[in-house]
């Protein structure tokens, strides 16, 4: 860890203005940032601590949704009555993540902005385009069990590790941000995370100095909600594949479906064609298979992650079967 100076932000504008300087990093729960700093993957010269800013509330919006402050802890969000009753997929996704101790510290914004768990990214002696642009990608021809089968590029196949964000993607959440001038903007979650392309070091749509202040959820969509996380052990492991599903169905007929996937891509993944293929169809092997075909179309394995293609199909099949039965 490189020596750094520490400041406590007095206001959001203060934080945004500080964060626009090179070498400055925002620290929220610190559960990801500090680990990366210890390994010198992140080497900020200044940490701006936003933990005392009043961004820890969950408020109801006038549209009938929720506005979740950037500093709401993952455990508090998962336990919130309104979230549990109306956004069960989010509560479940949160509780499927990390450990109780980590969730007590982890924040909404920090979770969205956590970095990949790619093994090579974590080791500064290994080539990694995300850490050192142009140095190469060690995972492409290396051990890539946890890597992407969709949305990656020749430069980087890292996945975004968040569970929470997958549920938010299914819920069509919006990210609110403020820049150094105090200008607020809203970014649909679909556009918030960036695909690697040739610049895997750029991971979000935030401009330098922009601070996430909240995530808003639109009113709960109709249908049943479910989060299924497939992983190598029963807890405390990142998703190999996860599915956030919101499916409106009755009597074996699907009216509409929303499906977001974790573990597959550099960002929470949705495939419009898969969702369309399910609209107004009979629940059953045929429609599930068609949806699965659409999800994995163009998917590409890199060796140790080849299994994710059949696993995605099977997991989706199981989720759709279960959610249309309930």
């Amino acid at each position: 860890m490189k020596a750094f100076s520490y400041e406590r932000a007095r206001s959001v504008a203060d934080a945004a203005s500080a964060a626009s300087n090179p070498g400055v990093k925002i620290i929220a729960g610190g559960t990801n940032l500090l680990d990366l700093m210890k390994l010198q993957v992140e080497t900020p010269s200044t940490l701006v601590d936003i933990n005392r800013l009043p961004l820890d509330k969950i408020d109801e919006t006038s549209e009938g949704g929720l506005r979740i402050g950037a500093l709401v802890r993952n455990s508090d969000l998962a336990a919130d009555q309104r979230v549990r009753q109306q956004y069960g997929v989010l509560s479940r996704a949160l509780l499927a993540g990390a450990s109780a101790q980590l969730r007590n510290k982890a924040t909404t914004a920090g979770n969205l902005l956590q970095r990949t768990r790619c093994y090579y990214f974590y080791d500064i002696t290994k080539p990694c385009n995300k850490r050192v642009p142009g140095s190469g990608c060690s995972a492409l021809a290396g051990f890539n069990r946890i890597h992407a089968i969709l949305g990656g590029s020749e430069a980087c196949i890292a996945t975004h590790p968040s569970d929470m964000a997958v549920a938010m993607r299914a819920l069509d959440a919006k990210v609110e941000a403020i820049d150094r001038e105090g200008k607020a903007r809203t970014i649909p979650i679909a556009d918030f995370h960036r695909l690697p392309g040739r610049t895997p070091e750029i991971e979000s749509a935030l401009a330098s100095g922009e601070i996430v202040t909240a995530v808003t959820l639109p009113p709960p969509p109709p249908g049943a909600q479910m989060y299924r996380k497939v992983r190598d052990r029963a807890s405390y492991a990142f998703a190999l594949v996860s599915v956030a599903a919101i499916v409106d169905s009755a009597g074996g007929r699907i009216r509409s479906a929303r499906l977001a996937f974790g573990g597959l891509a550099p960002k929470p993944w949705r495939v419009a064609a898969a969702e369309h293929s399910l609209t107004n169809t009979a629940a059953g092997a045929n429609s599930f298979d068609a949806a699965a075909d659409a999800v994995v179309e163009g998917a590409h394995g890199y060796g140790s992650n080849d299994f994710k293609i059949p696993l995605t199909r099977r997991t989706l099949h199981a989720v759709l079967g279960e959610i249309t039965r309930t």
Partner: protein, 733 residues
């Protein structure tokens, strides 16, 4: 005492205190933070941080240390250019560090930075710039089997064994099984990292260090640093787990000692979690071939077990995975062979039941495959091959109740409900299956000494250089002394974890309790004789209880007898019993797993281990040991997998986020361990046998067999992760 004959009746047989499920005597200290581990020892010390080689093989072309040296708080940057000349040997004899520009494995320390604070040392460590000339190395075991050679491990069993004519008998056997299994690289993943605080007092060195075998460590350190043994003191009263990873001396101890001598100040170092994987030892992966030839009734005519493992070219230690195959089942024609492949990766050494833990993962699944082929119940197959004597050495077993363990376990577990055809039982989305495995682990005894002293305040103090690595040694030693001297537990004080005390075996290889406990038994026995003499009583009839010694009507308080204190020494050595009897502890594991019908996720539903391992010294700590071992069996079967990247010669997943061991959610509430009553007259005066590692032996195989029974997936390359199971799952409706 040498173990030369049957033990006979003795003072422990009353089991008034020994055997009872008493709480750990050090429990309160541990949960209140009162137990201080090596890195917590307070001294006005400097802090060290290791710089690891980032290549696997080659030479250091240049090291630039100036920037680091000028970094705030830095006192020293040690490299091979200024490290002293050290003694050499294999990793169990010496541990020289920074010996020259040659890098022989990834993560080998290339520099050691010492600073006023930990943070300064760590920051400066990243400023040391090392350039390397890389060489091509051999890293992956499966790629280099052609280089295999016969290992000659001085402290190990012979690599090969042969009885009868295996190849003819196998060729002629009407029923044959010929299968290969592989087990992955594994890391110990103990909770406390390797840590040392080094303090020099003139030319005497004191090391507070996390080490399982202090006297062995003392010898290694003296040899490495070229100083007299008498000048080395190791202190280690509490150790946060070791699992074999702290049996030998690691770089933390030597680097701290060298830097501290150089700077004339105490120096403290702890390896980071990530560093532990490369700087210290691991368990080699193995490739095992098992051949079983039987008659049509399942009686083994030929049993063969071939094992490949890897280690540094300079090492002879091999993973003795065929060891249990030499004595577990009957059969006239036998062949076991271990081959070692030289690899340029970190040192492979002992980890959690070295040999049996991974050997049984292969042998006991092969037995399951054989049972299926014979259409025999797996337990019946084992009963048919229960030997009357050790089938290789042709000597009797000291005690062996494997069949009783199997039968008792079957009854308790409801084994009769198992369907012999895979894939028949469902519970919701789970395919449910049951599996069984035999467990066995060698029962070694090692030289140990103890001293026990009774003071006028009525307190007995036990002293020995034994360690407690979390297993409960403090408690069982106190129980033995209390029972022998007729004192309540609260009147016994146990001082261990320091080489100023009499030499003891330390904790490892399941020999700790038996060896240290027996030495203490002998010391207490000698003290009883002295006290009887002082009381004018016959030691053979005198009774010790309630702090008194009594014969007939006469009873004398011990405190009145001891004057200013009486003490006695005791000693235990292996003897003829260790040659003339085949000594193992035994067990049977039963597992029920669920395999997710869609995703192939395997989750344990319940598990039972039934063990016969001589006298149980403390029913509570014994159960904890057994359960802990079984949990490691879960990890071995389903999770643990240290992945080698052959391009870099390093372990990719070197942290606990990605090197998976079981977490609480992986372990069902219904996981139980039961000990059958057994006294072993040949093992040691306690009549106990080693249980430290027995719990893991066979546990993973029971799980693997249960996976097969659940869904028909016979996975022969561990761990059994869902990607390997997927292909065997039923089609989705």
């Amino acid at each position: 005492m040498e173990m030369d004959g049957p033990v006979g009746a003795n003072a422990l047989d009353a089991e008034k205190i020994v055997g009872k499920p008493l709480d750990r005597v050090d429990g309160r200290l541990k949960v209140t933070g009162g137990a201080h581990y090596a890195y917590e020892m307070q001294q006005n010390s400097l802090y060290g941080f290791v710089v690891e080689a980032s290549i696997a093989k080659g030479r250091i072309a240049s090291i630039e240390t100036l920037t680091a040296e000028r970094s705030p708080g830095v006192k020293l940057v040690l490299t091979y250019r200024d490290a002293p000349k050290q003694g050499t040997g294999n990793h169990r004899e010496a541990h020289p560090v920074l010996t020259g520009p040659v890098v022989s494995h990834y993560g080998e320390p290339v520099a050691f930075v010492v600073a006023e604070t930990f943070e300064q040392a760590r920051a400066a460590a990243y400023l040391v710039k090392v350039e390397y000339d890389r060489e091509k190395g051999q890293y992956a075991l499966p790629h280099h089997l052609a280089l295999a050679r016969v290992p000659h491990q001085p402290d190990g069993a012979p690599a090969d064994s042969e009885v009868g004519n295996f190849s003819d008998a196998y060729a002629n056997a009407p029923v044959q099984i010929d299968v290969s299994y592989s087990t992955p690289l594994q890391s110990h993943a103990m909770m406390e990292p390797h840590a040392t605080l080094a303090i020099w007092d003139g030319d005497k060195l004191i090391l507070h260090t996390a080490n399982q075998m202090l006297n062995q460590g003392q010898r290694v350190i003296a040899r490495t640093l070229n100083i007299p043994l008498a000048n080395v003191r190791l202190v280690s009263p509490f150790i946060g787990g070791g699992f074999g990873g702290k049996l030998w001396v690691n770089a933390d101890a030597i680097l701290a000692a060298i830097a501290s001598r150089y700077l004339k100040r105490p120096v403290k170092v702890a390896l980071t979690r990530q560093q532990i994987f490369h700087v210290t030892t691991h368990r080699s992966d193995t490739i095992q071939r098992i051949r079983l030839g039987t008659d049509r009734d399942g009686r083994i005519a030929a049993i063969g077990h071939d094992v490949f493992s890897g280690n540094l070219p300079s090492e002879q230690v091999y993973e003795a995975a065929a060891l249990q195959t030499r004595s577990l089942y009957a059969g006239p024609n036998r062949l076991t062979r271990h081959r070692l492949v030289p690899l340029d990766i970190p040192v492979a050494s002992s980890m959690r039941a070295p040999g049996e833990a991974v050997g049984l993962l292969a042998l006991e699944c092969a037995m399951d495959e054989l049972a299926e082929k014979l259409m025999l119940d797996p337990i019946e197959l084992r009963i048919r091959n229960e030997p009357a004597e050790d089938p290789e050495k042709h000597i009797p077993y000291s005690s062996r109740h494997l069949v009783a363990c199997m039968q008792e376990g079957a009854r308790r577990f409801g084994w009769d409900k198992r369907s012999s055809t895979p894939g028949q039982v469902r519970n919701g989305r789970w395919l449910v299956g049951m599996g069984v495995s035999a467990g066995t682990r060698g029962n070694p005894l090692r030289f140990s000494r103890a001293n026990v002293r009774l003071d006028p305040d009525g307190i007995a103090t036990v002293r020995m250089a034994m360690t407690d690595i979390g297993t409960g040694t403090y408690t069982i030693l106190a129980q033995i002394a209390a029972e022998m001297l007729g004192l309540p537990m609260g009147r016994v004080r146990v001082d261990i974890g320091d080489t100023i005390f009499p030499e003891a075996a330390g904790s490892g290889g399941s020999f700790g309790a038996a060896s240290s406990g027996s030495a203490l038994f002998e010391a207490c026995h000698a003290l009883r004789e002295k006290l009887s003499g002082l009381a004018g009583m016959d030691p053979n009839t005198a009774h010790f209880g309630d702090g008194h010694i009594a014969t007939g009507e006469r009873s004398v308080s011990l405190t009145e007898l001891v004057g200013s204190g009486v003490e006695a020494d005791g000693e235990i050595k292996p003897g003829r019993n260790n040659q003339d009897f085949s000594q193992q502890s035994y067990g049977a594991h039963f597992a029920e797993v669920g395999v997710d019908q869609d995703t192939g996720e395997v989750r344990l539903r319940r598990m039972l281990g039934v063990f016969a391992a001589g006298r149980v010294l403390n029913a509570k700590t014994a159960r904890s040991q057994a359960i802990g071992g079984m949990v490691f069996g879960v990890g071995a079967a389903l999770h643990e997998d240290l992945v080698l990247d052959p391009r870099f010669g390093y372990f990719v997943n070197h942290d606990l986020a990605e090197y998976h061991v079981p977490v609480h959610a992986d372990i069902p509430a219904s996981l139980e361990a039961v000990f059958l009553p057994e006294l072993d007259e040949r093992s040691n005066p306690l009549k106990s046998k080693g249980i430290g590692e027995l719990g893991i032996c066979g546990a993973g195989a029971a799980i693997a067999n249960a996976v097969y029974n659940a869904c028909g997936a016979r996975i022969r390359n561990y761990p059994i992760t869902l990607d390997k199971v997927l292909a065997s799952l039923p089609d989705q409706a």
